[in-house]
């Protein structure tokens, strides 16, 4: 049985229904698992999904944890790697991207964007450029909602507006971003030239 390298690593006997122990474990493990996925160049949205999948697999399958094989964090990272492998296998069976990203961006409200599109550096560059062209309030509300994952109530307090105004602003900001992307994506830039 491996010796615990530091006092904070979870003792195997505590992997039961003790909420506090699980809370401490998850607070350490979640950023580690997320970092694993992001370093493998998965887009943050997909990384979050896989982190959730991993956490729930760990909680539901906690009876299968074997203290003899390592710490709880290592066990969870193992589950994360399995989920990553499954995701990669799924991708291998999917057809490769057809056309450039502008084709996908044109249908931004009719079909979910493939993960491969989101992971292209070009997409990130385009989205940053589009965000920078929005007015300040729209940028602020989009970042608060989607980067910081703040609820509408908190955003409202931070911006000094009502919750209803936050929803209204989000609605307009999403539509504005969609329009900016349509203007900025490479196909239109080529045509404009």
């Amino acid at each position: 049985m491996p010796v615990a390298e530091n006092a904070e690593q979870l003792r195997p006997a505590a992997l039961a229904d003790d909420a506090e122990t699980w809370r401490a474990l998850l607070k350490r493990a979640i950023p580690m698992i997320y970092g694993l996925f992001v370093r493998r160049r998965l887009n943050p949205g997909l990384a979050e999904e896989l982190v959730q999948q991993t956490v729930f697999d760990a909680v539901r399958g906690r009876g299968s944890f074997d203290a003899g094989k390592g710490t709880a964090e290592q066990w969870m990272l193992g589950i994360a790697r399995n989920n990553l492998a499954l995701e990669m296998r799924k991708r291998a069976t999917r057809p490769s991207l057809d056309g450039d990203i502008s084709t996908y961006l044109a249908g931004i409200d009719t079909a979910p964007l493939p993960d491969e599109v989101l992971e292209k550096a070009e997409t990130a560059r385009l989205v940053r450029a589009a965000l920078d062209e929005l007015d300040e309030r729209e940028q602020k509300v989009l970042r608060a909602k989607y980067l910081d994952d703040l609820p509408a109530r908190t955003i409202a307090q931070g911006m000094g507006i009502t919750e209803k105004a936050v929803h209204s602003l989000l609605y307009r900001a999403r539509n504005s971003l969609r329009e900016k992307l349509k203007i900025l994506h490479p196909l239109n830039e080529e045509e404009a030239k």
């Binding site: 998850l26 009876g63 931004i108 079909a111 989101l118 999403r174």
Partner: protein, 680 residues
């Protein structure tokens, strides 16, 4: 997934991708940790292991069955071969007898027309194996009891046509054949949705299958010389608007019968200020409307009724019983998933001393969770998360169990409410809908109210859900997205739960000297006989804290007449003491705006919503109007409502409807009793 949801999801993922952090946000971590901790308490927490064991068991059984089948076939094959050799020797004897050497070489048949028993059995067995691949014909079950509601109309308006069932076909698959008239055939395959009663594959190019709406007609103009009193029960339901919105967002026009003007109008916030001390405050406003209607001396009059507000802290404790439809159809579009999300949101907004109990119904009704305090949130959330859809729809049993639980948990001075979450109550059981409605009414009189929340498109019974909410002294709302659930539960939860006035009725007494005729726009199924206005046994509408109800009339004045126009009487009961209160308010021509443009923005918004609903339902009174006209007015108005998401969305909906609606619809207008005036 709907377009709005797809856009939001894509924007969310794109904005995240544009960020450059290798760490998840704190909010994400905290939320995930909380949900994971809640999962610790969920029943069947070793789901993964149990599923694995169950899967292995099924695999083992399948392998065993295949192996046994192979052995049997080999055995029979061996017997056939054996029989062939033995019967060849028999044939040989006969052949010798028949003097025909060819018989030696005939397979299986020893004498023409005669088969050996083993060969016959093997042939039958082989046929059975082939037949296993074909779908077995089912004996049709007797058609389920149809939900036929008696017309609600009273007094001067004649009964509407019988219940009209709308069956429909997705626009993207026009090749499906219509199946009207086929008997109900329940599906045995576990993953198929139970077929909707009244329709399977929808015909007639309709958008969704088995959507049940009722045509309540369109109010006519009433001459004040004949009848100067207009009486109706208030209504704060919004289901019709949200159902129609779903149709439009999916790219379809709603059926005329789905449109109830008052529910469109009442969806929007007109900014009425709440009363400080009284239970209600009444608003009245009027302006010329001839420019829109094309009728001379036409005015639009808006009455608004605003109920007192109650703060969250002062709200009575709530004892809620969720009765959740978990039949197979709730798998469609993940309706049950939306129900769970909505209820989780509601649970998080409740106070620790509130109580929740849960009952469900699929093929059977059953209790899932006895009433517990909301402080045991994990247990409640785990029970909600454990729900799975499957089976048919035995609503009657589920509702009865829910009421039994509510009876046991009942406490005086609290909000005792059953919240029914369903996509449409296709089978209300052997006793029929009227008995259920009677039970619900009886319980409501004793203080256990019911609110009906509708989910899903296709196999959706708007008519019955609205009646359940009405009889239950609660309300009816339709939830198509999590945003709508937020609006209902996050926006004004106290209003959604705490009733401040029961049996609210309105009677408008028009002055025949000044008003020539009037038409109540909407409220066709809320009519109350004039002489029942002061009958306190007559059912009215219920209004929750902070709720408002708006009623619009088109009136025609006598030429050059001025003076008192109408007295509006409001009558209601206190929900606790049952004490009856009545008050009234007057409006005169001097209070009217000189022109429509002088009216308030809220008035103009109510007018646009009304115009939209009237055109959508093909009202006779809007027969010369198009959505182009409505859209123009809506777009001008939207500039004044920049902060109001609902008003912004209204413009979008009108625009969508305009694109779908045929340019000159030849459909018959809705309106059986048109009093067409010959203007002087």
């Amino acid at each position: 997934m709907k377009r709005k949801e797809i856009l939001e999801q894509n924007i969310s993922r794109m904005v995240k991708s544009a960020g450059d952090s290798n760490r998840p946000s704190d909010a994400f971590c905290d939320s995930l940790v909380d949900r994971a901790i809640a999962e610790l308490d969920a029943p069947d927490t070793d789901q993964v292991q149990r599923k694995r064991k169950s899967f292995m068991r099924i695999r083992f059984l399948k392998i065993t069955a295949y192996a046994a089948g192979i052995l049997v076939i080999c055995g029979i094959g061996a017997s056939v071969l054996l029989q062939t050799f033995t019967s060849q020797s028999d044939r040989g004897e006969r052949a010798i007898n028949d003097s025909d050497p060819l018989y030696y070489r005939l397979p299986a048949k020893s004498i023409e027309g005669e088969e050996s028993p083993l060969v016959r059995e093997s042939r039958k067995f082989a046929q059975r194996l082939r037949d296993q691949d074909k779908p077995r014909p089912m004996m049709p079950k007797p058609a389920m009891k149809r939900i036929m509601l008696a017309p609600v109309m009273k007094s001067k308006i004649p009964p509407p046509p019988m219940l009209q069932k709308t069956t429909s076909q997705p626009a993207s698959s026009p090749s499906r054949s219509p199946v009207i008239g086929k008997p109900y055939v329940p599906s045995e395959a576990p993953n198929r949705h139970p077929m909707a009663h009244g329709g399977t594959t929808p015909p007639n190019a309709e958008a969704y299958d088995a959507m049940f709406f009722k045509n309540y007609g369109v109010n006519p103009f009433v001459d004040t010389d004949d009848d100067h009193l207009s009486t109706f029960a208030t209504d704060v339901d919004t289901g019709s608007f949200t159902v129609c919105r779903r149709y439009l967002l999916d790219g379809n026009l709603p059926p005329n019968d789905a449109v109830r003007v008052e529910e469109f109008v009442n969806y929007f916030d007109y900014g009425y200020a709440a009363p400080q001390e009284d239970t209600f405050r009444i608003y009245a406003e009027a302006a010329p409307w001839s420019e829109w209607t094309g009728r001379q001396n036409s005015y639009l009059v808006r009455f608004g009724l605003k109920a007192m507000e109650v703060s969250d802290a002062n709200r009575k404790p709530a004892i809620l019983t969720f009765v959740i439809d978990v039949s197979g159809s709730m798998n469609r579009e993940n309706r049950l998933g939306l129900v769970k999300k909505s209820l989780r949101m509601l649970v998080k907004r409740l106070r620790p001393k509130d109580k929740i109990g849960i009952a469900v119904y699929g093929s059977q009704g059953r209790k899932v969770l006895d009433h517990v305090n909301v402080k045991k949130k994990k247990k409640i959330l785990a029970a909600i998360d454990s729900l799975q859809a499957g089976g048919s729809t035995f609503a009657e049993q589920g509702i009865r169990i829910g009421y039994e639980m509510a009876d046991v948990a009942y406490k005086e001075g609290c909000i005792n409410r059953v919240i029914l979450c369903s996509d449409g109550v296709a089978n209300v059981g052997r006793t029929g809908h009227e008995q259920i409605l009677e039970v619900i009414k009886d319980k409501a009189d004793k203080g256990i109210t019911l609110s009906a929340l509708g989910f899903g498109m296709g196999n959706y019974n708007d008519v019955l859900l609205e009646r359940l909410g009405d009889k239950g002294n609660g309300y009816y709302a339709y939830i198509d997205t999590i945003d709508e659930a937020k609006r209902l539960f996050d926006g004004n939860l106290t209003g959604a739960l705490q009733v401040v006035a029961r049996d609210v009725k309105i009677q408008v007494d028009f002055n025949p000297e000044v008003v020539r005729s009037y038409r109540l726009i909407g409220y066709e199924n809320r009519d109350v006989a004039d002489d029942k206005f002061r009958d306190d046994k007559e059912d009215g509408g219920e209004m929750g804290a902070g709720h408002s109800a708006t009623a619009l009339y088109e009136i025609k004045l006598w030429q050059d007449k001025t003076g008192p126009v109408a007295t509006t009487y409001i009558r209601y009961k206190d929900p606790d003491t049952r004490q009856v209160t009545e008050f009234n308010s007057q409006i005169a021509t001097a209070d009217f705006h000189e022109s429509f443009d002088e009216a308030t923005d809220a008035f103009a918004l109510a007018a646009v919503v009304t115009e939209f609903a009237e055109v959508l339902r093909k009202s006779y009174w809007a027969k010369d109007k198009t959505l182009d006209d409505v859209l123009q007015r809506a777009q001008q108005l939207s500039k004044k409502f920049e902060e109001d998401t609902d008003a912004i969305e209204l413009v979008d909906l009108i625009s969508r409807a305009k694109k779908i609606m045929p340019p000159h619809s030849s459909d018959k207008q809705t309106g059986e009793n048109e009093d067409v005036f010959v203007d002087p």
